[in-house]
Every structure is written in C-alpha cells, then in structure tokens.
C-alpha cells in the first residue's frame, strides 16, 4: 500500500512539475529576431523642405525584441538600422547622404532605437497599440523619444512566411518624426532643400522560432 502511495505522489509531483514548466515556457516573453531573411523589413523616411522633397528607405534592419502577448507592457529590446542601407534614388544624393556632413556611415555604421517601456496600451485581439518610450541613437547622440507603436502578434504564422519553420511573428509599425539638428546631421545647413524634420515610418516583422 505504502509503495503505491509513494508512486502516486511521485506521479502527481511529476505532472505538477511538467505543468509548471509548460506554464513558465508559455508565460515567458518570446525573443523576436528582426533580421528578416526576406529583406522586406524597412524604415522609410521623408523630408519635405520648401524647395525639395526627399524620400528613401533603409532595409538593413536587425535587433531583438522580447515580447509577451500576455504582458505587452513588459516589451523590451533594440532595433538597429545599418547606416549603409539608407538609400535614396539619386546616386549623387546617396553618396552625399552617406558622407561626413550627413549620416557619415563609415564612422557611425548604425542607428538604433532601444525600447525601455511601453505605455498607454490598448489591446484588441492580437493587435496592441500604444506608445514606446525609448532611446533613439544616431551619430553617437542619444535622445529619449516617445513614439506611437502598433504591434501585431501573429501566432503560429512563421511557417506561412518561412517554409519549414514553426513559430510566431511580431509585426511592429511606427510613424514618428525626428529633427536632424538634434542628431548632429549637418545641423542648420541647407534647410530650404533638406528639411530639419525627418518623417520616419518603421514597418518590421520579427520571428520567434520554436
């Protein structure tokens, strides 16, 4: 009688431990990798100066975001944009853009946004909207920004995008404006042709494989 009771106890503990492990695995935030094998992730930008409008994009996006669909407020991570991937359609303008006066891609190879907190969140289904508080860094100048974000959690959709892989996707969209003068991008110069305000539109998808 006693050995069977002991065995039962052991089984109960095993099941409880397994359940706890499973729960902890489900509840833990997932790490979403934003290095996109399809190269679709991009940050588009637009500068609308009185004499000229310039638009372009950057697709050299990497970074990781820790996201828990049950606790979106706990989202943390960093998105990095390779300066060399910033492109405008005119070749000469592109070379000026990467030069010392402007982005200086050789010396400052990355721009980044580090998410420190999400706030004012509203979740409807798999979509969470709110504000991201974080640090935007460009040319070694870091400034705290509060930007609007929309996060779409696509559970089990990784396989639809990357065959033979299982996991989830997290799509982040954000439109915000920075001032180039605040990030040492040729401040105060040629503002009639290159506006001080840069409108950014971030559209990125990260994958968490299982």
């Amino acid at each position: 009688m006693i050995p069977s009771l002991n065995k039962m106890k052991t089984n109960v503990f095993s099941v409880a431990a397994l359940a706890a492990l499973t729960l902890s695995a489900v509840a833990a935030p997932q790490s979403f990798d934003f290095k996109d094998p399809k190269g679709v992730n991009n940050a588009a930008f637009k500068l609308d100066a009185p004499l000229e409008a310039i638009s372009g994009s950057a697709n050299g996006i990497t970074g990781k975001i820790l996201f828990d669909p049950e606790k979106p407020a706990d989202t943390r991570g960093k998105i990095v944009i390779a300066s060399s991937s910033i492109t405008v359609p005119n070749a000469m303008m592109n070379s000026h853009l990467h030069g010392e006066k402007w982005i200086h891609a050789a010396k400052y190879p990355e721009l980044s946004f580090e998410v420190k907190a999400l706030r004012n969140l509203k979740t409807s289904g798999d979509v969470t909207t709110g504000e991201a508080v974080g640090s935007f860094t460009c040319k070694d100048v870091s400034k705290e920004l509060i930007i609007p974000v929309k996060l779409s959690y696509l559970k089990d959709k990784l396989g639809n995008r990357v065959p033979n892989m299982k996991g989830d996707l997290l799509v982040i969209r954000s439109n915000f404006t920075i001032k180039r003068s605040e990030f040492n991008i040729n401040p105060g110069q040629a503002e009639d042709k290159v506006s001080d305000e840069i409108e950014l539109a971030l559209s990125i998808a990260g994958a968490a494989a299982r």
């Binding site: 991009n42 994009s57 697709n59 005119n90 070749a91 696509l154 799509v171």
Partner: protein, 86 residues
C-alpha cells in the same frame, strides 16, 4: 559649319526632351534607381527594393539645355559663306 552646330543644338534639345518625356517626365532630380514596392502577404509589410534604372529629371534637362546653348553659341563663331557677286 554654322548650320551643323545649329542642327546639333536643336538635336540635343529634341533628344533630351524626348528621352525625358518617354521616361515619365520626372520633375524631380535624375534617378539612378527606382523603388519597387511589394507587399508581404503574411505580415502586410510593404517592402522596398531598388532597381537600377535611369530616370532623367529636371537637372538632366538643364544640362542638355546648357549643351544645346553651347552648340548654338559656337555656331556664331563661324561666318556664313558669302556668295561672290558677278
């Protein structure tokens, strides 16, 4: 020679205008690549890929106009052949 330079000037202008119109009459700067957008069906993200393509802009027209003006100006360096009166 005078007429040759004038013809060259006119040809440059017409050719530049023709190329500009046929490539879409771009009123911005000349482009060496054009952005092609395609939507990812799963995430809905609109990706941008740049394809190499020459699209002349207003600077191309201005440069062509300058070349045409130089040809036209050069034509004045040559005198018209005077016919001998009998």
């Amino acid at each position: 020679m005078r007429n040759l330079f004038r013809m060259l000037s006119l040809a440059t202008l017409l050719l530049a205008a023709g190329v500009w119109v046929l490539t879409g009459a771009n009123r911005g700067w000349t482009k060496n690549s054009i952005p092609l957008k395609s939507a990812d069906p799963v995430t809905g993200i609109e990706g941008v890929v740049y394809e190499r393509k020459f699209v002349p802009g207003m600077d191309f027209l201005a440069a062509s106009g300058t070349v045409a003006a130089i040809f036209a100006g050069a034509s004045f360096l040559f005198q018209t052949r005077k016919t001998k009166s009998k």
